[in-house]
Amino acid sequence: MIKRVDPKPLPETKLPELKQVGKPLRRVDALGKAVGATVYAADYSMPNMLHAKVLRSTRPSARIAKLDVAQARALPGVACILTGEDVRGAKLNTDLPGQTGREARSGSDAPVLALDVVRYVGEPIALVAAETVEIAEEAVRRIQIDYEDLPAVFDPATALEPGAPVLFEPDNEVSRYKIRKGDVEAGMAEADIVVEGTYKMPFVEHAYLEPDAGVAWVDEQGVINIRVCTQVVEHFRSIARALDVPQNKIRIRGTMVGGGFGSKEDITVEIFLAFLARETGRPVKLVYTREEAFSATSKRHPFTIKHTTGVKKNGRITALQVEMLADSGAYPYLTPYVLLYATGMAAGPYRIDNVQIDSVAAPTNQTFTSAFRGFGGPQAALGYEQQMDEIAKALDLDPFEVRRVNYLKTDDTTCTGQTVTSAVWSEECATRALHALGEPAPSTPTRKIGRGMASYFQSYGRITWFHDTSRAWVGVEQDGTVQLRCGVPDIGAGQSNSICQIAAEILGVPLERVTIYATDSAVTPLAGTSTATRQLYMSGNAVTKAATAVRDRLVARAAQHLGVEEATIDLGDSRVGVKGNPSQSIALKDLAHLCAAEGIELSELAQFNAPFNEGLDPETGQGDIWPDFTFGTAAVDVAVDTETGQIEILKCAACHDVGRAINPAAVHGQIAGGTHQGLGYAVMEDFILDEGQIKTPSFAEYLIPTAVDFPSTEVIILESGTGVGPFGAKGIGEPALTPAAPAVANAVADAIGLRINELPLTPKRILDALAGVSEEEGE
């Protein structure tokens, strides 16, 4: 078991004392949601509205021999049926061009509706719009379809073998990357021992509570309006391309999103709604059932990761070789980028001079995989963090000590050769998370106690050659209230609140005086995707820029009004005046009146650009890839019942350096919630497919953590103030999840003295491992 370590004092930081930022204020969206006033996508209706349903494939790999919609079309109340023939050529451009204007890879896009062949169970084949949901359902049943089964492949390793069925010409290689840093051969020769380990992870479902939904209509300008729960309002461009209409004829009106976790980063209902609304000229609504939300949307990628590590006796790593294989499911979607993230993070938060990483993704006739909180980072961490414990075991060293001697420091380079410029508080986080666990409970003969930890590093902000941007508009009204317009989708993590709190700080008003209008692709400045842990970084900086421009004008006019130097002026409590001297100040509303009368602009539209660069060297994988990184550690105590195989999570602590917590209560929520998802990943979550058929189609079969499964995580928030976000913030949305699952895996291995190399750690796998049964025999 990991020895107890006492945390050393933190390095000195200089965080300014702020009035709004850094306070655990009630989020601007909280009360509306608590009283049920928030209107979600499925809650909207339009006059004269039709209801849509989707016919989906029941076969994992088949040719559509016959598709006859005549009987369905004849059903009274059916307004429209569309098949692949009707939308021929239309592709789901889920790829980058819709978001950044750069070019797509070829062959990356799924058809809007299957044409000729289907490649997974759940693939959309036809759309129905009818007067009622019931009629639409009946029409779907009346569509006659004959399949001719085609050869299928259900395992990415098989897909890469010669002779395997090819899903897309010319071969089954969705993407491949390599990283070459230093001299791995020499590094291995220098090692005292070489440790090998292979780790496997399953498909995982996002299980957001709000099934995908939307309503679309064509307005009086001929613009197709789509109200939808999405993480990406910029998909209007991809939808325009699919419909072959100008981009200014598609308007996405995002709603509050009832959870996304990456799944609503892909186009879901909006493309179907756009086609149906255009075709019928009537408003159309489509709400997925839970089963549809499971079968028709992406999953987390299964990975198999093999680590071979050369290590000195003191635990110092001399060389690392990694092989990664990912399952893209039936269509690539964001697989190339998920694989790239996993590859760039495969070496973990460790300083390793000699690294060789080879990664490949291959398709299978299964549910497609795409973004899921962490975007390949959690899988990478399950590789490198389980491997760190195996190294410790092989050398009989303490698992923390092995990590400590290898942790990256500021100014070190990652495996892609990128220099880490912000604070690296890995050791500070690890010691605090471990310390929080306290004394472990004693083991009994049938109840084995184990302690595990996992450290990680993870990017925030998108890959820097995506040339990412965000915009925000900030205005001061004549009564001294503040308005924000920003196209930021709020997926529940407090994206909109954070930028309100930043504007409140800069303009010196209480948070209640700020109102935000968000997520309308036509009228709110485009802020980019709510993905990649980027909104606080990107839109936070855009709001900072806009609010600061307005503030500068207020300060100049106030200084003139009060007859003092600008440098003496401060804003706070809705007043502008000499710092520390309330008698020499003016109310913000009076100052706003003054400015308005003189034509001084009290609003600003600002754009923030992330660093732009041009990608990694394709031969060596070397180069800068992300804006910055977040570091942290999770630590877990478990009890394993050796008679039943049950794992009980006894304690869990998570410590992350978030740079600056804009709203500590919201940060706490991100860390607690992310950790919980990671615990579920470790011990219960498994989206099971058998020969391409989904065996876990609903919440009855696919289990996610309930209120009684795990204890609350002890959340420890550190603030180095060194991030590239506003006020020195780093990102925490995705990183929060990453270390939890490997910490559990390590705790279980510590408890039973055996490593189970595949998630989830089910009772059956525990009992098989204890009985010495291999995975193949146990199945």
Binding site: P24, R26, R27, D29, A30, L31, G32, K33, A34, V35, G36, A37, T38, V39, Y40, A42, D43, V133, E134, E137, E138, H206, A207, Y208, L209, E210, P211, M256, V257, G258, G259, F261, V287, T289, R290, I491, G492, A493, G494, A665, A666, H668, G669, A672, G673, G674, T675, H676, Q677, S698, F699, A700, I704, P705, T706, A707, V708, F710, S712, T713
Partner: protein, 189 residues
């Protein structure tokens, strides 16, 4: 089709429902969209309402079974202008992230605190075990229930104006569990 009467959040409704329409569908069709549809099989708790003061998943009750019943949804407990202390506690304690599970969580909390004003953490977790949340990890929700319990106890001496769901009849000792295969409204399977 069958004619039924429902009293929802203090408003009387007469409506015609099909034999397989669930209470969830009936309520949402009436405009009570704060009742959320998360799974339609009684697994997620997003559609929880108080049916004659007992908490039920409205997807597991046929609308026809609820004929004559009094229903209280989350929006019936309080409003933006006058939130219920439980709703206020959820907002204050950071228990609300995406908010989609929140109406059901608040309803389950209301039922819990009606029958047990001073629950332990274990009792809170047990009472919320039928409400899935994917965002919070439940810790801040437990804190919200504790905060609400505290505030409600303090406010007993100075009762506010009457609200829906605060009737005078004694609260049931155990929540009603409607189980069995109920045809799903709007599914037609």
């Amino acid at each position: 089709m069958r004619e039924i009467r429902l009293n929802v959040n203090g408003r009387a409704h007469e409506l015609r429902v099909s034999a397989n329409m669930t209470l969830l569908t009936a309520l949402r069709d009436l405009g009570y969209t704060d009742v959320k549809n998360g799974c339609e099989i009684g697994e997620c708790g997003a559609c929880a309402v108080l049916l004659n003061r007992r908490v039920v998943n409205s997807c597991m009750v046929l609308a026809a079974q609820a004929d004559g019943a009094t229903v209280v949804t989350n929006a019936g407990l309080g409003t933006m202008k006058d939130p219920h202390p439980i709703q206020e506690a959820f907002a204050d304690a950071g228990a609300v992230q995406c908010g989609f599970c929140t109406p059901g969580m608040v309803i389950s909390t209301k039922a819990l605190l009606d029958r047990n004003p001073d629950p332990t953490e274990e009792e809170i977790r047990d009472a919320l075990s039928g409400n899935l949340c994917r965002c919070t990890g439940y810790g801040q929700i437990v804190s919200a229930v504790q905060l609400a319990a505290e505030r409600l106890k303090r406010s007993i001496s100075s009762p506010a104006s009457p609200r829906c769901g605060d009737g005078h009849e004694p609260a049931p000792a155990e929540p009603l569990r409607v189980s069995g295969e109920v045809p799903r409204g709007g599914e037609g399977e």
